[in-house]
C-alpha cells in the first residue's frame, strides 16, 4: 500500500510490541526506584541514582555493548537467566524490549520521582492515623496522587522506546521479524542511496503511533489531574 514490504510492517508490529512491553514491564520497578530516590535515604542511594541515569549519559552503542556483555549468551547474567529460567534475551525481541526499557528508564524514573516529591506528606500522615499501613498509604494515597507523573513517565518511556536504535541494534542486532524495530529498518533504508522515501514512510508511521499515544496520555492525564484538583 505505501510501498513498504512485509518486513517493514513486521517492524511496525514489533516496535509496538517491544515498546509496550518495555514500558509496562519497567513501570513497577520504575515506580519503586522513583519512590526510593524521592523518599528514602539509604546507603547506596547515590549509586542507584547514578545507575538509573547511566543509559542517558552513555552513548547508546556503549549501553548496547554492555548489555551484550552482560546479558548475551556468554554473559554472566545472560547465562544465569538461561540456566535458571530458560530465558534467552540475545537476538530476541525480549532483548530488544530490555534494551528499550533500560534506555527509557531514566526518563520514566525522573518523571515519577518528581511526582513523588510533590505529594504532600501530610496527607500520608493523615492516612496513617486512619489505620493505613505504610503499604496501604502508598497504594491508596501516594500512588493515586502520583498518577499524573506515572502517566507522563510512561509516555516518555514509550516514546523513547519507539525511537531507540543504538542500544537495541548493538545488543540484539537486526533480525527481520524478531528484532528489526522501526528505527532499525529506518537506519537500513538510510544507508543506501535512494532509501529516503521508504525511511520517511516509516518515520511517519512511527510518529503517528507515538503521537496517538501522546494524545491519549494527555487526555488521561488531564482527567486524572481534574480529579485530583477536585472539581
Amino acid at each position: 500500500m505505501t510501498g513498504l514490504g512485509p518486513e517493514a510492517w513486521d517492524a511496525v508490529r514489533l516496535s509496538l510490541q517491544v515498546s509496550l512491553v518495555a514500558t509496562m514491564a519497567s513501570l513497577p520497578l520504575g515506580i519503586l526506584v522513583a519512590w526510593a530516590l524521592a523518599r528514602k535515604s539509604f546507603p547506596g542511594r547515590q549509586v542507584l541514582n547514578a545507575a538509573v541515569h547511566l543509559p542517558l549519559i552513555l552513548p547508546p552503542v556503549v549501553t548496547g555493548y554492555l548489555l551484550l556483555v552482560a546479558f548475551g549468551r556468554q554473559g554472566p547474567l545472560g547465562a544465569m537467566l538461561y540456566e535458571t529460567f530458560g530465558i534467552t534475551l540475545a537476538f530476541r525481541w525480549t532483548g530488544a524490549a530490555l534494551a528499550a526499557g533500560i534506555m527509557a528508564f531514566p526518563l520514566m524514573v525522573r518523571a515519577i520521582r518528581l511526582a513523588f516529591e510533590a505529594v504532600d506528606p501530610r496527607l500520608e500522615s493523615a492516612a496513617g492515623t486512619l489505620g493505613a499501613s505504610k503499604l496501604q498509604v502508598f497504594t491508596t494515597v501516594t500512588l493515586p496522587l502520583v498518577a499524573p507523573g506515572v502517566i507522563a513517565g510512561s509516555i516518555l518511556a514509550f516514546a523513547k522506546a519507539m525511537g531507540e536504535f543504538g542500544a537495541t541494534i548493538t545488543f540484539v542486532s537486526n533480525i527481520p521479524g524478531e528484532t528489526q524495530t522501526i528505527p532499525s529498518a529506518i537506519y537500513a533504508f538510510l544507508q543506501v542511496p535512494g532509501g529516503e522515501n521508504a525511511a520517511l514512510t516509516l518515520v511517519a508511521i512511527s510518529v503517528g503511533i507515538a503521537l496517538a499515544a501522546l494524545a491519549l496520555s494527555e487526555w488521561v492525564g488531564a482527567r486524572v489531574a481534574t480529579r485530583i484538583r477536585g472539581a
Binding site: T170, S173, I175, Y187, A188, V192
Partner: protein, 234 residues
C-alpha cells in the same frame, strides 16, 4: 594548508596514520572525520566543509558524482579489502578458500546466528550476501543471520562468542585476537571491495586535497595502508 577528510569509519585510523606522514612531509595539515559513508555523502551534499571524501563503497561515490559534487577526474580507487568468514576463539586450522562445498551452516548449532553487517544496507553486509548467494548458501542462511549496524558490531558479536561465526573484512579480523579466520571468500563471489576517494567540488584547498590523494596512492601511503591490512591497487 589544511584539509578535512571525510572518511568511511573503517578507514579512519589508517587514514590518520597516512595523514601524519603526509603532514610531516608537506607541512600541510589533515583532519580525519570518520563516520558512515552514507552520512558523509549526504553531508557533502549539504555543503559540508570536506576537501576529500573516502567512501567504503562505490555507490555513495557514484551518488556524489551524479550530483557533480566531486571534482571530475580526481576520483580513484585508494584501497581494497577481502571478505572473510570468522569464528570465535583462537585458530585451530589454517584458513581455506571458501567454495560452494564449504558448508557455513555446519558452524551453527540450533539457535545460533551468523553475524553480518546489515545485508541490504551496509557494504560489508551487501558483499557478504552476494558471496553467500554465489556460493549457493544464502537461501539456507538468510533466516539465521544477525545483522549488525556496521561491520565492527558484527565482529564484536563473534569476538564475544554471541555468534559462533561471522562475515567481516579481512582488516577487521586481523586485528581482533578473539576471532580467527576460517576462510576467505573468493573475489569472484562478490563485487570488488573498493574504497574510492575524490576531491569534493567545494573543497577549500583542492590542491592540497589532490596532493593528499596522491600521497595515499604513493608507495609510502600504500605501505601504511597495507600495514592496516588493506589491499592496494596494482
Amino acid at each position: 594548508s589544511e584539509i578535512t577528510v571525510f572518511a568511511a569509519a573503517s578507514t579512519g585510523p589508517a587514514l590518520r596514520q597516512v595523514a601524519e606522514a603526509w603532514e610531516e612531509e608537506t607541512g600541510n595539515a589533515a583532519t580525519i572525520a570518520p563516520a558512515g559513508s552514507s552520512v558523509l555523502a549526504r553531508q557533502i551534499a549539504q555543503g559540508a566543509p570536506a576537501d576529500v571524501f573516502v567512501s567504503a563503497n562505490v555507490d555513495w561515490m557514484d551518488w556524489l558524482e551524479e550530483r557533480r559534487l566531486i571534482v571530475p577526474g580526481s576520483r580513484r580507487v585508494l584501497m581494497q579489502n577481502c571478505l572473510v568468514l570468522i569464528a570465535h576463539g583462537p585458530a585451530e586450522i589454517a584458513p581455506v578458500s571458501l567454495t560452494a562445498d564449504y558448508d557455513v551452516a555446519r558452524h551453527l548449532a540450533e539457535g545460533d546466528r551468523l553475524a553480518m553487517a546489515l545485508v541490504d544496507a551496509v557494504p560489508a553486509g551487501i558483499y557478504g550476501k552476494q558471496a553467500l548467494t554465489s556460493l549457493g548458501q544464502w537461501e539456507a542462511l538468510a533466516s539465521r543471520v544477525a545483522q549488525a549496524d556496521n561491520v565492527r558490531a558484527a565482529l564484536a558479536l563473534v569476538a564475544l562468542g554471541e555468534a559462533p561465526v561471522g562475515i567481516v573484512y579481512a582488516t577487521d579480523a586481523a586485528a581482533e585476537p578473539r576471532v580467527h579466520v576460517l576462510g576467505t571468500f573468493p573475489d569472484s563471489s562478490h563485487d570488488p571491495i573498493l574504497y574510492p576517494g575524490a576531491v569534493t567540488a567545494e573543497a577549500a584547498a583542492p590542491a592540497a586535497a589532490e596532493d593528499f590523494l596522491d600521497y595515499l596512492s604513493s608507495d609510502a601511503g600504500h605501505a601504511i595502508l597495507e600495514s592496516h591490512g588493506f589491499g592496494v591497487p596494482e
